[in-house]
């Protein structure tokens, strides 16, 4: 890896941490393409490494939120049960659905949600 890419790693980690903490999500979305672009790791390893980075960041962010009283244990438990079931179903559907079309569809959906949130 080039020295400037090593420096870039520090910057990308910092940015992923900031966004993950500030927006409560999205650290992985910054990390994965950055790692693929900057390092010569294969896609699958970039994903695995991104989760290993995001996990400690998420734990620290969660603790800071909880310490400020920003936590709803009842809803969190129910939603977590749902997301685990959903993630399992989603990963099984991965090879059976036209993901690239769905990706564009949900991209549009995210843009609409973003606009809807500010008006």
């Amino acid at each position: 890896m080039k020295p400037q890419n090593k420096i870039s790693l520090w910057i990308i980690g910092f940015l992923a941490g900031i966004f993950n903490g500030l927006c409560g999500s999205g650290g992985g979305t910054i990390l994965v393409p950055s790692l693929v672009f900057l390092t010569n790791v294969i896609d699958h390893h970039a994903h695995a490494t991104a989760i290993a980075v995001i996990l400690p960041l998420t734990i620290i962010s969660s603790l800071i939120y909880a310490k400020s009283g920003i936590i709803n244990i009842n809803i969190t438990i129910k939603v977590t049960i749902g997301t685990i079931i959903g993630a399992y179903i989603g990963s099984k559907m991965l090879n059976k659905l036209p993901i690239n079309i769905l990706r564009k569809l949900f991209g549009i959906f995210m843009i609409i949600a973003a606009i809807r949130m500010v008006i």
């Binding site: 790693l9 980690g13 910092f14 940015l15 992923a16 941490g17 900031i18 966004f19 993950n20 903490g21 500030l22 999500s25 999205g26 650290g27 992985g28 979305t29 994965v32 390092t39 790791v41 994903h47 695995a48 991104a50 989760i51 290993a52 980075v53 995001i54 996990l55 400690p56 960041l57 620290i60 962010s61 969660s62 800071i64 939120y65 400020s68 920003i70 936590i71 809803i75 939603v79 749902g82 997301t83 079931i85 959903g86 993630a87 399992y88 179903i89 989603g90 991965l94 993901i99 769905l102 949900f106 991209g107 549009i108 995210m110 843009i111 949600a113 973003a114 809807r116 949130m117 500010v118």
Partner: protein, 120 residues
């Protein structure tokens, strides 16, 4: 029940690698009427159990690139502290605007992204 259903729907989309966990936050704000901060707190905490299992499995299979892990985690932790401290102090309406900007960019990214890769 609406909490579990919202989780399942967001989990399916996230499990297909679309939008990471980002999609759950607006879903929580719209359907459960929680504040922006609480929605983000729920998304962060709900990521931990499945991610822990994923890291355990990936580590066992040797998928984690250990040599790039340390700089990413150290700088990431500093960023996470700064970002979270800001998030808990910001006015919910301001945070909502920042998040919306982020969601908008993510939406554009999903539309133009070509790979069907799985993302956390």
């Amino acid at each position: 029940m609406i909490e579990i259903l919202t989780g399942i729907a967001a989990g399916i989309i996230g499990g297909m690698g679309i939008g990471g966990g980002t999609i759950l936050i607006p879903a929580l704000v719209f359907f459960l009427r929680v504040t922006q901060q609480i929605a983000q707190s729920i998304n962060l905490i709900s990521f931990i159990p499945a991610a822990s299992l994923a890291v355990y499995v990936h580590n066992k299979n040797g998928n984690i690139e250990k040599n790039i892990l340390i700089p990413l985690i150290i700088s990431g932790v500093i960023g996470a502290i700064v970002g979270s401290m800001a998030a808990v102090k910001l006015d919910p309406s301001v945070l909502k605007k920042i998040f919306s900007g982020f969601l908008f960019i993510m939406g554009i990214y999903e539309i133009f992204s070509k790979k069907a890769a799985k993302r956390p």
